[in-house]
Amino acid sequence: MRMAAAEATDRNRITFLLAFATLLTAAAFLFNPADEIFRGSLTILTSPANLITDYFALANPGAALLNAGLMTYLAILIIRLSRVRITGPLVAAVFTMAGFSLFGKNLLNSIPIMAGVYLYSLVSRTSFDRYLLQALFGTALGPLFSEVAFHLGLAQPLGLILGFAAGLFAGFVLTPLSMHMLRFHQGFNLYNIGFTAGIVGMFFIAVLRNFGIEIGLVNQVSSADNLPYILLLGILFLGMLVAGLRFSGWRLAGYGSLLRQSGRLAADFVTISGFGLTLVNMAVLGFLSTGYVLLVGGHLSGPVIGGIFTVVGFGAFGKHPRNVLPILLGVFLMGLVNHYEVDSTVMLLAALFGTTLAPISGHYGPLVGILAGMLHTAMVMNIGDLHAGMNLYNNGFSGGFIAAAMVPILDALKEIIAQRKKG
């Protein structure tokens, strides 16, 4: 609860997010000199960005980290301009923005989506702050802009104009759709906008393919030494752990209660358990998810670090070790029997982002969580082609279908069991 003596104020929360953005930006210059970062940044801004385009490989780690830092600053700026409190969902959105800016999002391809959401708020005569989450998470469709602007062979500025129009339209329609889609999975898929973005991306690709334009998934992933990234993540998570403990008065009272939450939308841990304990939870998830990647022998590439950041961010909005571990185990077990290597990038991403289904594990128990992780692995490998990687939250797309299919069956079974116990 919000009773810790040293509870963080909104200023603490903003300071923390700014520190995160600054760490990413500063780290960029430890990896590459300024001229390489500048050239790399231009490459990032002017290249197609559909899944899986690792900016570490496309450009260089410095440019990718700078991109992530700048996108994090942008997210914080938009939140501040909207004059809302920093809550769990917004922390999750900022970390997700940072993570996906290592593989697909950038300043150029995100702004049209945000503008589309803003346009919707104007047309519907509603305050923009109500659609803040759609504006931030909706940037999952950023590759749509990049693809139209830079990959269809259109002359400039026609490509840029059409790309902007596509992004604007996607942001506009995403907003009402995302609300409707919540009922489809009943709040059991944490990446709700990922599911919606998958639907929007699927329609766009269907239209493009209808005109004979072929767009496929790519697999451009770096495989550099893990050590510098382990240090970077270690410093970040250790800092979060210490800050979290400080904000919660160096006590963990209440963490047990957080761990008993199912995590189902909309479990805002910042509101429910306080910012201090939320930061502790995020740090623990950071160590856990990084540990998983290293334990199975994976590489800390841009997308994988993006996945870790997203797990950490959702540590403020539904995820905790108790509901995440069964999903990780389910994906791992499926990896032992399917034809993908457990340490391959796609399997690592399935594990990290598969935790979108953590509420299923939290609500129905760990065995069901393991099953959800296994089913998700099968589904996510099969579904990306529908939107050709235009939706960066492919796991959210898959997770929506898994939750929508599992929840009614599980509820029906629960009901049958309860009736039999009675009768």
């Binding site: 909207s82 809550t87 659609y131 759609q134 609300m179 919540l182 009943q186 909309a266 509101t271």
Partner: protein
């Protein structure tokens, strides 16, 4: 039915649910529209305060979260009661929750 009316109906249903779940009797309900929103007051008699009264009061008075409104409107009647308390709290702009002399009284203000 416009969005504001729908929001008031959902919140009212949730508040009534809280009263009924906690066996609060003789429930009185008052909805007063003003220029920019609605005042909603629900009161009823009970022998003792609900067991989760403190949690409920904290959840309800935590402050509005406009960015989450769509989540609340869509999910409010789907989660567990504890989840719903926080959803409810984040939808109301002001709240006052009291239990005195056997009367549970909840007053909320909902901006349009």
């Amino acid at each position: 039915m416009n969005g504001a009316t729908q929001k008031v109906k959902r919140i009212l249903a949730e508040l009534l649910g809280y009263f009924l779940d906690n066996e609060v009797l003789d429930i009185h309900l008052r909805v007063t529209p003003d220029g920019g929103g609605h005042y909603v007051e629900v009161s009823g008699s009970a022998q003792k305060a609900p067991s989760d009264f403190d949690t409920f009061r904290l959840a309800l008075t935590d402050g509005v979260q406009p960015e989450m409104e769509s989540y609340y409107l869509e999910l409010l009647d789907m989660g567990s009661s504890r989840d719903n308390h926080y959803l409810l709290g984040a939808m109301v702009d002001r709240a006052d929750v009291t239990f005195t002399e056997g009367v549970l009284r909840i007053s909320v203000y909902i901006k349009e």
